[in-house]
């Protein structure tokens, strides 16, 4: 048993480490110039960070991506919570469950370019302006499947006795929801939020078509692909990851506090 376990642990640690390999490389190129694969150590500078901060265009793109991400993820969580609970109720007819699931999965299963073009053409016909708000809608439609499926799976694994017990003890529907159901769904909600945010923050193909004359970060990067990226982008990626790390660190501490209090 021992060697197997050691092997599996090694694989796990190595995988986590390798996930960070591309990040380290990008961080390096934000401080040093790399020439034919050799890092020139003397070239250390913060120049690219300074350039980044004076680049209003990139700054605007990042801000609009953050806005899109936050709003889209919030809306996605609310919608997928409502939908997964609705479809998990025993009283919901079977055909309705199947159809709702199918419709939620439809945009997730289609190549994003189809969803993007479909939304663009529909919005044009209906006279809805393309732009950042359209992008939010597009992202919600796309990532809904993630929250829906993750929550649905967890709900199907929940012990119905938990709810009955709460009801028997006289808890109203809302109390039941907030005090019994929601804590059970905390981890699936958190992971859905993380995954949806990650996808939204990097979504290109739907966004491309409905962003109008607006701009998000991935669209800006996609445009830069043609001519080439400057190390400013390395600096940007480094900063984005740093901020993410700090935020998730804070979340982790919060979450630990919460689970501890539940366990008591």
């Amino acid at each position: 048993m021992k060697p197997v376990r050691t092997l599996l642990n090694t694989i796990a640690i190595l995988t986590v480490f390798l996930l960070y390999a591309p990040i380290f490389l990008v961080m390096l190129t934000s401080f040093f110039s790399v020439r034919r694969g050799k890092i020139i150590w003397e070239s250390f500078s913060f120049n690219w960070y300074a350039k980044l901060f004076s680049n209003a265009e990139i700054g605007a793109a990042v801000l609009s991506s953050i806005k899109v991400g936050i709003v889209a993820v919030t809306a996605t969580l609310v919608l997928s919570l409502a939908m997964s609970i609705y479809t998990s109720r025993a009283r919901t007819p079977r055909w309705e469950r199947t159809t709702i699931s199918a419709l939620v999965f439809l945009p997730f299963l289609l190549p994003p370019i189809i969803t993007g073009m479909a939304l663009l053409v529909t919005m044009k016909e209906m006279g809805i302006a393309r732009g950042v708000n359209a992008v939010i809608l597009g992202h919600v439609v796309f990532v809904l499947a993630i929250g829906f499926r993750t929550l649905q799976t967890r709900l199907s694994m929940l012990d119905p006795a938990l709810i009955w017990a709460a009801r028997d003890l006289g808890a109203g529907p809302w109390r039941c929801f907030f005090q019994v159901l929601l804590p059970q769904l905390a981890m699936p909600l958190a992971t859905s939020a993380i995954m949806s945010l990650a996808i939204s923050f990097d979504e290109t193909m739907i966004t491309l078509f409905i962003v109008g004359d607006g701009m998000t970060l991935p669209i800006r990067l996609y445009g830069m692909m043609r001519y080439g990226f400057t190390p400013e982008i390395s600096a940007l990626v480094t900063l984005v990851l740093l901020v993410t790390a700090i935020l998730t660190g804070a979340l982790a501490i919060l979450y630990r506090g919460r689970t501890a209090s539940i366990a008591e």
Partner: protein, 286 residues
């Protein structure tokens, strides 16, 4: 769960209104294009199956579709296995380390995909760090070109980009297995292998399968990784679809190609959904 948590009618109407307006009408209407045709640079709105016949009969589409599905399946299986190993490892740590690690796994997801692929090139390329490392430890004398611009590079890139999704979803399943259940089994004399097969795997399998679903869908439609690290083999089905919407201006064919991909993905999801409902795994259910 028979509780009347909410006034069902309002929920029902809002859920359906959203799905109809934002999903069914736009996408459904667009998929109808698959039955139209193109003549002389404009779309002809007469219904026909010509596009589907073309998709079925042209060996190019079949070949590329087959290759794309195969890569996506391989990537999903790799993600499933690796994701499971990592999630189990993380779940066994003490709470502080556990939640730190699970968030640490999620952070790379926030790195732009395009930049990540470019970075993979910097790692795997001729002048890349892998080659330099191998030369440094003396395994090779000259840098090798075999790490990049082939399908193995595509698989690796996709696995590293997508494995956090499987780790996270699997973890959701593992995390809810009560420690008491495992302790009880151990007290009753069950060995680690038996505990894994009868408790841990059945209870976490549904969540792990959800991860497979996500990685499959996200890799099957992707064309950036294959194009940027796949060399001359980099043509995938997603690019074939994309090319119909550009200057080729053949939306109907593009819509038909998409519908085929969607139906096949739905089939994969349906199978995965069946698997994730673990009736067949729960032999010892009350």
């Amino acid at each position: 769960m028979t509780a009347h948590w909410f006034s069902a009618a309002i929920w029902r109407v809002s859920i359906w209104a959203f799905l109809l307006m934002a999903v069914l009408i736009p996408i459904g209407a667009f998929l109808v294009y698959g039955f139209f045709g193109v003549e002389g640079g404009s779309i002809v709105y007469t219904l026909s199956l010509a596009n589907y016949i073309e998709v079925a009969s042209d060996p190019v589409y079949r070949k590329v579709l087959g290759k794309t599905l195969r890569i996506a399946a391989e990537v999903s299986v790799l993600c499933f296995v690796t994701g499971y190993i990592v999630a189990v490892f993380i779940n066994r740590q003490r709470p502080v380390l556990k939640y730190t690690l699970i968030f640490a796994v999620a952070i790379p997801l926030m790195m732009s995909y395009v930049i990540k692929i470019y970075s993979m090139r910097g790692l795997l390329g001729h002048t890349g760090f892998l080659n330099q490392f191998l030369i440094w430890i003396g395994l090779i004398d000259e840098p090798l070109s075999v790490f990049l611009f082939n399908l193995t590079a595509v698989r690796m890139t996709l696995v590293f980009a997508l494995v956090p999704f499987s780790i996270l979803t699997t973890f959701v399943g593992l995390e809810r297995i009560p420690g008491a259940t495992i302790n009880a089994a151990r007290d009753l004399g069950a060995g680690p292998i038996r505990i894994f097969w009868t408790i841990v795997l059945p209870l976490s399998f549904p969540s792990a399968v959800v991860g497979v679903m996500f990685t499959f869908v996200l890799s099957v439609g992707d064309f950036l990784a294959p194009e940027l690290v796949g060399g001359v083999n980099g043509l995938t089905y997603g690019r074939l679809i994309f090319s119909q919407f550009g200057i080729a201006f053949n939306w109907p064919l593009g819509a038909a190609l998409s519908l085929v991909l969607m139906v096949l993905s739905f089939a994969v999801i349906a199978v995965a959904g069946r698997l994730s409902n673990p009736g067949w795994l729960r032999r010892e259910d009350p």
